[in-house]
């Protein structure tokens, strides 16, 4: 029995918006004078506000980490196999926060949102944001929620980089960092893949230097190719061979129409992505990946960069992940050992490549579960007195921030999303499944054979994210 089927969902959830009017200085030198962060929470914050876990999303996911929406019951959060009652991130114990990062296209301020200074959508003018900027904004959200110290920050891939960044940048504000399928920076090869993806977008005539929105256009072809490239890097060679091999749809017909199943699979993924994702966001998120390099300001010495960290760490890698291979996690582990930090490191022999962090490998889930159980056991079991509570609650919020705390209801189009058909639980993570990358990754729910019908997905609205692509 999989963990997935044994436990339950957090159920119906609803996103909220926190509006911040204190300017955020960005790493690029630009300043965001005000901005929104869309987030969801699951579980209850305990009396001393010590049980909060922040989940950071990867490339194209969102704040919709777990559960479903009342008006969109198939839209399951992207990490629903990890987060929920009785799941490794147990919402009966922890107060879990999923946040959408700045520059995204799922509700938080980004290219699709309105620049209050001009009254028009930001589009190409939205500044370039970095992992550090995201983390700075997340810290303000924690302040807003009255949380001075997170029990844990966790994420996979780019989400893991945010967890690492938290531990370095805000050492006193995070007790545990869970860094999964991540890397301390991108290799030249990683940057190269990102650059090819960006070039696909930038060279699409419909991109119009990023001002396509004003013209009511969209660089679908560029986004499509960008997603295809990304997808190739998310799954392992072995898995691609196993799922697709050289299977054909209808034999060879000596044309450039899709003949091999892998071709129609990539086209399907590309087309779907081009509908729900924003090109300006894609450019920015891949740049955030490229720029992340905490060791750079320490002469390339990651151990020095991590010398400020005080958190305990869980680092997880997957043996067939060639996008962020285990060797990249070893670098993080080595730097933490050099700093004598407390750390657990698991190297999971999963066949699914980079996507494995989204899937249901029992060894992986058991490791995260054990780690968070241990973290939970360190929490004070006795409720605090009201006097103590009072002092904990006095988080350093500026009066301006407090004044601006407001919750703006979202339209369903703004919500994170998944347009997902849940997989039968037996297929989740099953290697033998015909579903490429299977399990939590909704991307893969379409069988290659179904691709001709699937090649024209119904057009979802902007603001769709969810499990769709938590990678990389």
């Amino acid at each position: 029995m999989s963990e997935y089927s044994q436990s339950h969902s957090v159920g119906i959830v609803a996103p909220q918006t926190a509006r911040f009017s204190e300017p955020l200085k960005l790493r690029s030198g630009a300043t965001l004078s005000d901005y929104d962060l869309v987030y969801e929470t699951y579980g209850a914050l305990n009396a001393d506000r010590s049980n909060a876990i922040l989940i950071c999303h990867a490339l194209n996911a969102s704040h919709h980490v777990a559960g479903t929406y009342a008006d969109d019951p198939d839209n399951t959060g992207w990490w629903d196999n990890m987060v929920g009652p009785g799941k490794p991130v147990d919402t009966d114990r922890f107060f879990v926060i999923g946040v959408n990062n700045l520059g995204s296209c799922f509700g938080s301020s980004g290219p699709l949102s309105v620049n209050l200074a001009t009254g028009k959508a930001w589009g190409a003018d939205f500044p370039i944001v970095t992992v550090e900027d995201w983390v700075d904004a997340q810290v303000r959200l924690a302040d807003r929620l009255g949380i001075t110290r997170l029990l844990a920050v966790m994420g996979g891939s780019l989400g893991g980089m945010q967890a690492l960044c938290w531990s370095i940048r805000y050492p006193s504000r995070v007790a545990h960092a869970l860094v999964i399928a991540a890397a301390p920076n991108l290799s030249a090869q990683n940057i190269a893949f990102n650059e090819v993806a960006r070039q696909a977008i930038l060279s699409d005539p419909q991109f119009s230097d990023g001002h396509f929105g004003e013209k009511g256009e969209k660089p679908r072809l560029g986004l499509r190719v960008a997603r295809m490239i990304g997808h190739i890097t998310y799954i392992s060679d072995e898995q691609m061979a196993e799922k697709f091999g050289r299977q054909l749809r209808d034999g060879l017909n000596f044309s450039f129409a899709p003949e091999f199943q892998i071709e129609s699979y990539l086209r399907y993924q590309g087309d779907k992505f081009a509908e729900y994702y924003d090109a300006n966001t894609y450019l920015r998120v891949t740049k955030a990946l490229d720029y992340f390099d905490p060791a750079a300001e320490h002469g390339g010495d990651l151990a020095k960069a991590l010398s400020s960290a005080r958190a305990k760490f869980l680092v997880v890698s997957f043996t067939t992940d060639w996008r962020f291979a285990p060797e990249r996690s070893h670098e993080i582990v080595k730097a933490l050992i050099d700093n004598r930090r407390d750390i657990a490191y698991a190297e999971i022999a999963a066949p699914n490549g980079h996507d494995a962090f989204l899937l249901e490998d029992p060894r992986y889930l058991a490791t995260v579960r054990a780690y968070l159980n241990k973290a939970f056991s360190t929490l004070s079991p006795t409720p605090l007195t009201s006097r103590e509570r009072g002092s904990v609650e006095s988080v350093p919020l500026t009066s301006r921030e407090r004044g601006s705390a407001e919750s703006v209801p979202l339209t369903s189009g703004e919500r994170g999303s998944a347009e997902s058909v849940p997989l039968p639980s037996g297929e989740n993570g099953s290697v033998g499944s015909p579903l490429p990358s299977s399990g939590g990754s909704v991307d893969s729910r379409i069988q290659p054979a179904a691709s001709s019908a699937a090649a024209q997905p119904s057009p979802p609205s902007w603001g769709r994210a969810g499990r769709e692509g938590a990678n990389p």
């Binding site: 869980l314 582990v333 050992i337 004598r340 750390i343 657990a344 490191y345 190297e347 490791t367 054990a370």
Partner: protein, 194 residues
């Protein structure tokens, strides 16, 4: 729960507040014992997937790595003691592992089943590969690839210049002094480099 005799010998050899690396740490029981009784810090290394969550539950800093090749990340003399408990016989590159242990640690503790134990010799005399508490495997399913005796290990230490700081031989959980290579089933060494 009573403490395994070999673990309590190891605990006696470890200085309080040492920095310890436990190779093949299993579910972390030994490291936990050392943390509780000797206030040690450090890491355990384990390859088995199923043991990783158990180590974490025991509060042990476990790193899932292969011992053969996975020790490069540790700097020279960065630990007070490196422990290899009943695992040396399963290593392909015995010499290399010992060299690595004494590169990383100021001291090394090595324990192994003694293939010179009289019970083992008897089974061989009867024509069979030995099976015992310390050698619980059949020849066809054993992870052990290098079986050796106390005399063999003494010879290796002399050849490699490993100085034996302490040695304790056990039969079951009883200490053995005389005729250790015949009467002892488990040998325990505390080594350093000359």
């Amino acid at each position: 729960m009573s403490i395994r005799r070999d673990y309590s010998v190891i605990a006696d050899w470890i200085q309080p507040q040492s920095r310890v690396l436990d190779l093949g740490c299993g579910d972390g029981t030994l490291f936990r014992l050392l943390a509780d009784t000797r206030d040690v810090t450090g890491y355990g290394i384990e390859i088995d997937d199923d043991k990783i969550p158990l180590c974490i539950a025991n509060g042990v800093n476990v790193l899932q790595r292969d011992l053969e090749g996975g020790l490069r990340d540790f700097d020279d003399q960065s630990f007070d003691c490196v422990i290899l408990s009943q695992t040396l016989q399963a290593m392909r590159h015995t010499e290399l592992v010992l060299t690595e242990m004494l590169r990383i640690g100021r001291e090394a503790i090595v324990t192994f089943p003694n293939f010179g134990y009289w019970h083992v010799r008897m089974q061989l005399l009867m024509g069979h590969m030995p099976v015992s508490d310390d050698l619980p495997y059949q020849w066809y399913d054993t992870p052990n690839v290098h079986l050796f005796t106390i005399a063999d290990f003494d010879a290796l230490c002399a050849e490699k210049g490993y100085r034996v700081l302490s040695r304790q031989v056990l039969a079951g959980d009883k200490p053995v002094n005389a005729f250790a290579n015949i009467r002892g089933s488990l040998a325990m060494y505390r080594l350093t480099r000359d």
